[in-house]
């Protein structure tokens, strides 16, 4: 392939890319000086609160806000859901208000009187038969001839029930915004993963509320966001109404969700359950799959996970049922539908491997070529590396730890996939006459290291240290990038920054070429200098070179995609994870000994933050495997654990040893950048569930793998 001017530097020519570079906004975060939306306190600030539905399903028959409005310090009250409207989950927004303090706002909520006519609700979905009219067929597909494949007398068939409960996002910074009007202009500080997309959505929402505002007059700023994980793409009702409250009150208003509302209404990952039947030849070759799956994502139900996952089993039949429940609506949760698909598939396949009395690593390697897009080779490499890092050969045993005592140890494996191509975006790179450099793009950093990646790419291109680059992000008035979702950000910002930097450098080289007496195309930027490619004696420092600009700043805009044929990124990654656990058969408690991740994501810009993403994904995976579940009560329709005391997250003592191996070098680097946010969070559930089954000799069918479920499974069989 022809060399293209924007191509990533070859392996030997990279001074920063792929190294372990410290997060550039690390000092701001660790010193507490980073200002999040929640931390914005503009003068005159009012506090907004929301009156929420106490019922899972009800019709509003009367609303009286007069007492609240009379309360001194209350500055604006507005109805979101009026009389005659229905609420569809506990926590559904009905009235928003703003007051001079948090305390007054809370008092005002207590003075609001709303009457409801309760309507029937459903908040539990695991029992499909009880779902009745809430259940709807939602897709079926067939490939090959599964009936014939299953009836082959030479195949071994395994059947089982598997599932994973609905969980929340539980962002530590609750959803919310600060809205401030100056004349016709609206400024919002928003806790969002979609800085560029928010003003248009807020404008549309306000105009629907008869607030006259032009999109051009709306600016959204988000320098730091305390977690999103897929739950913060839109402004939500509260994001529209906070702007309306601010307009009415003539003062800035901050409206952040309380923790109970955050957990009930501002984030949910759909559940998935399935009856699965799978068949292989006696040598382990997979031949057939059949699944009947169901789940809920709140009122809108949920679509079918990608089944069977990763491996395209030649004869397959899948049917899905979507259940509408009166629970907070689903939002994208890191790798939507993939963790569910991994649990339903990889647990079923591991049970089949156990029935075949095959080592799962051998079983998955044997079938890896069923992976789409010829990715089998990658999975085989990753399976081998992960197995070595986990001491698989030494620690794995056939199902059921036969050693005496009540602590049983087991190993489990899972595989996953994701796309991760960069979204559309733009980045402006400026070189100033004093030598300072800015990269400016309307993206956001969810904590994945977006700022750092931009700085590394620009610094690499200019032969400068990372600290020489000022990165401006988090403002909708900057050249637009996309929403940070689906692992699309690193592919976008690395490409836009690279293209802008290369073009800006070309302009600088053209300016300084005459002074050095070297044609511009023979100049390079390296080690803080501009110098001739073949004669390092002909050089000037970066600062001297920039001084030649006199008073004119260079600006270049990089776009993704662009018209050039340069390939800076790709899509499609795979990963393998292994869990090593101990299970106490007397208490049902599971302890993580070690988690191993082997992951590819093309060319890695910053190894340090890439590894952090994987460590974090493993920990988040341990959390949803062992602890997380929205516990719903069918009688009251409420979520029983709508606080962080009972909606449990793993702590620092719950995670065991973590080993991350990034696949790099030939075969990986030349693909360019590919996103990493989603993939490593997909496999922990299946890997841990498989490890538990390997330890105790019986499958705990559904996640989270809580002690009661472990003991219930052991009561039916296994090693105890």
């Amino acid at each position: 392939m022809d060399k293209c001017k924007y191509d990533w530097p070859a392996a030997g020519e990279r001074s920063l890319i792929g190294k372990r570079i410290k997060r550039i906004d690390g000092p701001a975060k660790s010193s507490g000086s980073a200002k999040y939306t929640y931390d914005m306190n503009p003068p005159g600030l009012l506090i907004g609160k929301i009156y929420r539905s106490p019922y899972a399903h009800a019709k509003i028959t009367a609303i009286d806000t007069s007492e609240a409005e009379k309360l001194p310090g209350v500055k604006a009250v507005q109805v979101i859901l009026g009389v005659g409207k229905e609420t569809n989950w506990v926590g559904d927004e009905i009235i928003a208000l703003a007051a001079e303090s948090e305390e007054i706002a809370e008092d005002a909520l207590r003075k609001i009187k709303v009457e409801f006519e309760e309507l029937p609700h459903l908040v539990l979905e695991e029992n499909l038969e009880q779902a009745g009219s809430y259940a709807k067929k939602a897709g079926a597909k067939t490939a090959g001839d599964p009936a014939k494949a299953f009836s082959d007398p030479d195949v071994v068939i395994s059947e089982g029930y598997y599932g994973i409960a609905a969980i929340t996002h539980c962002c530590l910074e609750a959803h919310g915004n600060v809205a401030e009007w100056t004349g016709e202009k609206l400024l919002t500080y928003s806790s969002t993963q979609n800085v560029p997309g928010l003003p248009g959505q807020i404008g549309q929402g306000l105009r629907e509320q008869k607030v006259d505002v032009a999109d051009k007059n709306i600016e959204t700023i988000c320098n730091y966001v305390g977690g999103g994980f897929g739950s913060k793409f839109g402004p939500d009702e509260w994001g529209i109404h906070v702007a309306q409250l601010a307009k009415t009150a003539g003062k800035p208003v901050k409206l952040m969700l309380d923790r109970n509302m955050e957990l009930e209404a501002a984030g949910a990952r759909p559940s998935s359950y399935a009856q699965v039947k799978v068949a292989a030849k006696k040598d382990g070759t997979l031949v057939a799959w059949e699944s009947q799956s169901w789940g809920t994502g709140g009122p809108a139900g949920t679509g079918m996970p990608p089944l069977p996952y990763v491996l395209e089993i030649p004869n397959s039949s899948t049917q899905h049922t979507s259940i509408s429940t009166n629970t907070g609506p689903a939002r994208a949760w890191r790798a939507p539908n993939h963790p569910q698909a991994a649990v339903l598939t990889m647990c079923a396949l591991e049970d089949l491997a156990a029935k075949l009395e095959m080592d799962p690593i051998e079983f998955f390697s044997k079938n890896a070529d069923l992976a789409a897009a010829g990715r089998g080779k990658v999975y085989k490499e990753e399976l081998q590396i992960a197995a070595e890092l986990a001491d698989w050969k030494k620690n794995w045993h056939p199902r059921g730890d036969k050693t005496p005592g009540h602590i049983k140890r087991g190993m489990g494996v899972s595989m996953h996939t994701w796309g991760g191509r960069g979204h559309n975006g733009m980045c402006m790179v400026s070189i100033h006459p004093d030598g300072s450099v800015e990269a400016t793009t309307g993206t956001q950093d969810l904590g994945t290291g977006t700022r750092t990646v931009i700085a590394v790419v620009a610094a690499e291109t200019f032969g400068l240290p990372v600290e020489a680059i000022t990165v401006n992000i988090g403002d909708s008035k900057f050249p637009p990038d996309g929403a940070s979702g689906g692992s699309t950000t690193v592919g976008a910002v690395s490409a836009t920054t690279r293209r802008a930097s290369v073009d800006a450098l070309d302009q600088l080289l053209a300016v300084v070429a005459p002074s050095l007496g070297v044609p511009a195309d023979q100049l390079v930027a390296v080690g803080g200098n501009i110098q001739a490619k073949d004669d390092a004696s002909k050089k000037m420092t970066w600062k001297e070179a920039c001084a030649k600009l006199q008073v004119k700043t260079i600006q270049a805009m990089g776009k993704n995609p662009d018209a050039s044929k340069c390939k800076l990124g790709d899509s499609g990654v795979g990963g393998v994870q292994i869990a090593d656990v101990s299970v106490d058969t007397e208490t049902g408690l599971i302890k993580i000994n070690r988690m191993v991740a082997a992951q590819d994501c093309g060319l890695i810009i910053d190894m340090k933050t890439a590894e952090s993403t994987c460590y974090g994904a493993l920990i988040m995976g341990i959390t949803y495997s062992l602890f997380e579940e929205k516990i719903m009560d069918q009688i009251t329709g409420r979520m029983l654990n709508n606080n962080m005391e009972f909606y449990k997250l793993a702590g620092i003592g719950d995670i065991g040893e973590l080993v991350v191996h990034m696949m790099t070098g030939p075969g990986y680097d030349e693909r360019g950048t590919i996103g990493l946010g989603e993939p490593p969070v997909v496999s922990p559930g299946a890997a841990i569930s498989n490890a538990v089954a390997n330890a105790i000799g019986v499958r705990v069918p559904t996640l989270p793998l809580t002690p009661d479920k472990v003991l219930a499974a052991l009561a039916k069989g296994g090693v105890a």
Partner: protein, 211 residues
């Protein structure tokens, strides 16, 4: 839920009273500074409020006069009245540690202390420990080991870590996992935190040895 009575435990481990046998599965640091909550306010016995009352808070070496209702937490007083926003409001019920501040040398959950109870006590927040340009060794170790992603739990973790190391200058990994069990992170930065705490312990010891 079980409350530890009296002052710090003899081993001084932490403010979090873990049920040791279950600590591998129980991650909710249930307790914030019971000794702080038990501290007697200097006001005379009787009913305070319900309206705002004047109080004085000693924060980061300065006396601040403010008027707060008795129900206002120390966390809300710091964030909403003094614009000290390093301590974060997350769970608002003494579970997650994001609001950790140091009161009379002990780490407390600021959401579990009323502002009026904090009167007469010495409060230190993340803002007093260091700045982005002049990092405290614990902050520097968090940056070096990338013990942060979104960063929202980070200030609380840094403060808890500083207070922990003050009492445990030579921690083992097991000590770290126990002593910092009362701070929760959603992005999953614990791997970096473990390394950062151990490195900060070394740096701080070096600093002390050198005077």
């Amino acid at each position: 839920m079980r409350k530890k009575k009296g002052k710090h435990p003899a081993d001084g481990f932490s403010r979090r009273d873990f049920l040791k046998g279950a600590s591998m599965a129980v991650s909710t640091g249930l307790l914030a500074a019971p000794e702080a909550v038990a501290a007697a306010p200097e006001h005379s016995p009787g009913v305070l409020g319900p309206g705002a009352i004047p109080i004085s808070l000693q924060v980061n070496g300065k006396a601040h006069s403010l008027k707060v209702e008795p129900r206002v937490t120390l966390l809300d007083a710091l964030r909403n009245h003094l614009d000290l926003t390093g301590a974060k409001k997350v769970c608002d019920r003494g579970v997650c540690g994001a609001c950790t501040v140091i009161m009379d040398g002990h780490p407390v959950y600021a959401c579990n202390v009323l502002a009026i109870e904090a009167e007469g006590h010495r409060i230190e927040t993340i803002e007093a420990l260091g700045t982005a340009d002049n990092l405290h060794p614990v902050m520097a170790a968090f940056v070096e080991h990338d013990a942060q992603q979104c960063g929202f739990c980070t200030p609380g973790f840094v403060v808890a870590c500083k207070a922990f190391l003050d009492k445990h200058p030579n921690p083992t990994m097991k000590d770290v996992e126990h002593g910092l069990g009362g701070n929760l992170c959603r992005c999953g930065t614990y791997a970096g935190v473990r390394e950062a705490v151990l490195e900060a312990a070394k740096t701080l010891k070096g600093g002390r040895a050198n005077g």
